[in-house]
Every structure is written in structure tokens, then in C-alpha cells.
């Protein structure tokens, strides 16, 4: 009697539990679907963004676009001064930021002793990575343009971007160095190498790939950086080229280009976006496509490089 009474309610409970489990499994599936949907839409957004630029700018992908100066007539305007400017600025950035960043990274990983000095430096490096880029522009405006009197030149722009790139190089150098096991260093010390010999001939050699990854990512960021260069007062309309860095006569190298006015690809693009005529928007799209191809290629190379290093090296 008692058993018979219990049975239906137990069955009811069982059914309830089964419904609950089914529902939770459904939730599980629903969330997995949602996650995939979100990631797919992000990827599609990236693709649409890229296609939109390429399709809008497609009519401008001619040799003339790369060999013409900007012009008041949209059809004849090109990005010659912009890509030359970008290249020269990046040369300065590279020369300044890479050695400085690697040296700082080496110091922080290999030399610094735990103490207030290394703490202060570490806090500063991580803090610099979070400072908005336009603040670097204000720093450069106050310091390089007016206090040092460098003017609105390629040198100023290169130094500004170098400051922006520095934290990226420092962080990637440190990560690469940290991955090297201590036995490598001990082996070198054991045969009588000095600290610097260990660092230069072993630590830096083996962390080369990781450092390169950081340098490429930093350069890709520097190519697209606009706000700090607008802040230092980069000109938006440049119809001349800076003096050539290489000359036929000795001493073959001419440094006048460092003081020349300049424009860069993203500023040229910004300038064209800001104009009301649609014809200029096409130019902007084409410039944007050039920038995005450059940055995506560089980032892609960096990501691939890092992937290869991770796969290949087994200590």
C-alpha cells in the first residue's frame, strides 16, 4: 500500500529531474551556439571592414595613385608624399625604439636586482603601455617641437612614435628572455663568460624570434598611429618630397630629411575623410586599404613567427 502510493510521486520527481537536465543541456548548447555566433560575427565584421575599403578604393589602385602627390582634384591625387613620409618616420622610430627597448628589456630581466629602483622602472613601463597615444602627442608637442626646437619634422614624428613603441618592445623582449632556461646561462658562465658575453652571445641570440615579433607588432602599430602625429602639428597637404637620404656625392648620406615637413598615410587618409566630396572618400578608402594590408601582413607575420617559435623550441 505504502509502496504503491510512493511510486507515482517518485516517477514525477524523476520526470522533473529529467526535464531539468534536458533544459540545462539545452542551455549548454544554446550558449555554445551563442559563443560561436559572436566570434563568427566578429570575424565577419573584420572581413566586411576590409572588403568595404578594398571595394570603395578599388578604382584608385593604379600606379599613379602611388606616384602622385595629393591634389585639390581628387582624381589626380595620390599618396606619394604619404608613403615616403611614413617610411622615413618609421626608419627613425626603428633606429630609436628597437635598441633602446631591447636594452631596457635586457636590463630588467638579466641585470636588475629586486629593489626600489627596479620596482619604479617596472611600474613605469607597465604604466606607459596604458597611456593614451594622444598624450604622447602632447608630450612631443611640448618637449620635441618647442623645448628642443625640432619643429614639426620627420625627426619629431619618428621620436614620438618611438616612445609609443618602446613599451611594446620592452615587454616582448622580457617575455622572450624569460623563456630561456637558466641552465643556458649557467653553462656559459661555467666556461668563464662574463655577464655581458652570456647576454649578448646566448640570451639575445636565443630570444631573437620573440624580440622580432614584438618589433614587428610595434612597427605595425606605429604605421597606423594618427592622433599623436596630428597633435604635433603634422601637415596634411604636402606636395613635395623630403630631401633624399642618399646622395651621389660623398659623404653619400644626407641628413636634411630629418628636418623636413612630412605627412604620413593615416593622416592623409584622415584628411581625405574630413572632406565633404565623395571623390576624396574613395581616395581615403584606397589609402585605408593600403594601411590595413600593411598592418595585417605585419601582424600576421608576427603571429606566425610566434607560433613557429612556440612549436619549434623545446628546451
Amino acid at each position: 500500500m505504502a509502496v504503491n502510493q510512493k511510486k507515482p510521486s517518485a516517477l514525477k520527481d524523476l520526470n522533473l529531474i529529467r526535464t531539468m537536465i534536458r533544459q540545462h543541456k539545452r542551455n549548454d548548447l544554446a550558449f555554445a551556439g551563442l559563443g560561436m555566433f559572436v566570434i563568427a560575427s566578429l570575424t565577419i565584421t573584420l572581413i566586411i571592414l576590409f572588403l568595404d575599403l578594398v571595394l570603395d578604393g578599388y578604382p584608385k589602385f593604379t600606379l599613379d595613385f602611388f606616384s602622385n602627390f595629393p591634389s585639390r582634384r581628387a582624381a589626380r591625387a595620390g599618396i606619394l608624399s604619404a608613403w615616403v613620409g611614413s617610411s622615413l618616420v618609421l626608419i627613425v622610430t626603428f633606429i630609436v625604439a628597437v635598441p633602446l627597448g631591447i636594452a631596457a628589456g635586457i636590463y630588467l630581466e638579466e641585470y636588475s636586482k629586486k629593489g626600489w629602483l627596479s620596482d619604479i622602472i617596472e611600474i613605469n613601463v607597465s604604466n606607459l603601455a596604458g597611456v593614451p597615444s594622444i598624450i604622447y602627442g602632447l608630450l612631443a608637442l611640448g618637449l620635441f617641437v618647442y623645448s628642443f626646437g625640432l619643429g614639426q619634422s620627420i625627426l619629431t614624428a619618428g621620436l614620438t612614435l618611438a616612445l609609443l613603441m618602446l613599451p611594446i618592445v620592452i615587454v616582448s623582449t622580457r617575455e622572450a628572455i624569460r623563456a630561456i632556461p637558466v641552465q643556458i646561462r649557467e653553462a656559459a658562465y661555467a666556461v668563464g663568460a662574463t655577464k655581458w658575453q652570456v647576454v649578448l652571445n646566448h640570451v639575445v641570440q636565443y630570444s631573437y624570434g620573440g624580440i622580432l615579433t614584438g618589433v614587428i607588432i610595434g612597427m605595425a602599430r606605429a604605421i597606423g598611429e594618427t592622433a599623436p602625429l596630428i597633435t604635433i602639428g603634422a601637415l596634411t597637404f604636402i606636395a613635395f618630397l623630403p630631401p633624399s637620404p642618399v646622395t651621389i656625392d660623398p659623404p653619400f648620406i644626407n641628413l636634411d630629411w630629418l628636418n623636413a615637413g612630412f605627412t604620413v598615410l593615416p593622416i592623409q587618409m584622415f584628411n581625405w575623410i574630413s572632406r565633404p566630396q565623395h571623390a576624396f572618400h574613395i581616395n581615403a578608402a584606397a589609402t585605408g586599404a593600403v594601411i590595413i594590408i600593411l598592418t595585417v601582413l605585419m601582424n600576421g607575420v608576427a603571429i606566425k613567427l610566434r607560433y613557429n617559435i612556440r612549436k619549434k623550441i623545446k628546451w
Binding site: D28, L49, Y111, P167, I170, K195
Partner: protein, 305 residues
Amino acid sequence: MSEPIISARLSKDFQRNIMERFIEFALLCSAAFAVFITSAIVYVLVSEAIPFFQHVSIYEFLTDTVWTPNYSIKHYGILPLISGTLTTTFIALIVAVPLGTITAIYLSEFASHKVRETVKPILELLVGVPTVVFGYFALMLVTPLLQKIYPDLTTFNMLGPGIVMGVMIVPYIASLAEDSMRAVPMAMREGAYAMGATRFQTSVRVITPAAISGIVAAYILAISRAVGETMIVAIAAGQQPNFTFNPVESAATITSYIVSVALGDLEHGGIGYQSIFAAGLTLLVMTLLLNILGHMTRKKFAERY
């Protein structure tokens, strides 16, 4: 001294010792350069903003609701710029927080190894897209789309750039939040699974609460990124200071104000020139507070596991 001399030749090698000391010093100088940059930023912003604040009282700066330093009737209230900054940031967060969190949970708890290895590089590529291109996207693609839904929307508004900025910061939130979720010990997941929890229940009831400070830190750092973002708003939000929190209106943010002044003729030492440093100082203080808060939250998380 009874210390054993390992190699008399090496201990006498002054050149070698001096070289080592010199190199160490040079490396120290490079590292200390980071400190120099920070001090230079603070020095330049403060020293250029001091003359501004001698002209304008801090009370007026913080309470006046009109910002027109470059007009004949001058008002110096930072509030319109702050309202623009906060509105665009808020829209960006409405977009980025759900998307970023879902992506992070999916990548950390649901995705197979292969999916994760494919998606993370795509997110990194999204981070690498220059902001000026995102600005073009906001003005030429997103705003016209929004205008089809709201025909009253002006060409320059805060909604379009806000949404695009949200898409831009999704990868930051996703990768930082995912890192902190993956750092939650495996034993906690296994405990939940052993009790019969599904993956969704485990993620929401176990992993998310355990990683909450890391996730919140990701949000805070994303806010800081959005507050300092310049080109998207400078291109697509208009550059007219406007004290409003209405996202369909056009407005200037702190950053886009700096850009608009820098695009014009800058008179060195003039009040317009000083005003961008005062605005920059405000921005620096805001992002600095957010970054410190973010790092403190993350450190709290790191201490637990």
C-alpha cells in the same frame, strides 16, 4: 682576506671589468628612460596647464557647462568634453562587455584547442587594425546603416563611433578575461563536473565568480582604452563641444578636442594651446586612475591563485 683567487689573469683584466660596468650602466640608462618618459609627460602637461589654470579657476573649469576657448566669448568648462567622452565610452561598453565576456567564456570553457588557436590570432588582427580605419568604418558604413533605422540621425553622432569603438575593444576584454578564466585551477572545474554541472553552469556559477576580479580588471582597462581613443570619435562624432548625454547628438570628446585644435593654427603659448594641455592633463588623470584601479583588481586576483 682568505678568498681564493680563481684566476689571477681575469682579476687583473681591468679592461674587461670596466667594459662590464659600462655596459651595465648603459643598459640601466635605457631602462631608466621609461621613468624619464613618465616624468616628462607629467612635467610637460603640468607646466603647460599651470598658466591655463592661472587664467581659469579650477572651479570654473570643473563646473562650467560651455567649452569655447577658441571663440570670442570664452568659456572654459571641461564638462561638455567629459560628457562626450563618457557617452561614447558607455556605448562602447554596452557593445563590448557582453560580446567580450561571451567570447572569453566560450574560448576558455567551450572551444576546442583548435578553435582557440584559430580565433585568438583573428582577435589579435582586430587589435592591429589602425583606429583611423575604424573611424572611416564608423562614418561611412555604420552611421548610414543607423540612419536607415533612425532617419533623424545626423551625420556626426556619438552612437556610430561608440558602437565601432565597442567592436574595437572586444578583443581587449576577451583576451584579458580569458587569461584570468584559464588561470582558475582545473580542480574547481572538475569539482563542478563531478557534481553533474553542465559546462554552462560551471562557467557561470564556478569559473566566472572565481575569475571575477580578473574580468572586472579587463573591463576597467577597456574603459581606459575607450576614454583615450581618439581617431574614431574625431572622425565620426563631430568636433563640436556639446554638453549632452544623448547618443544621437554630435559632440566632442577630450581627445577629439585636442585633435581639432591641433589641426588649426596653433599659437604657441596662447590660451588655445594651453587649453589642450589642460584637457590632456584631465585625460591623463582619468586613464591613470582607471589603470591603477585595473592593476590593483588584477593583482588581487593573482594573489588568490
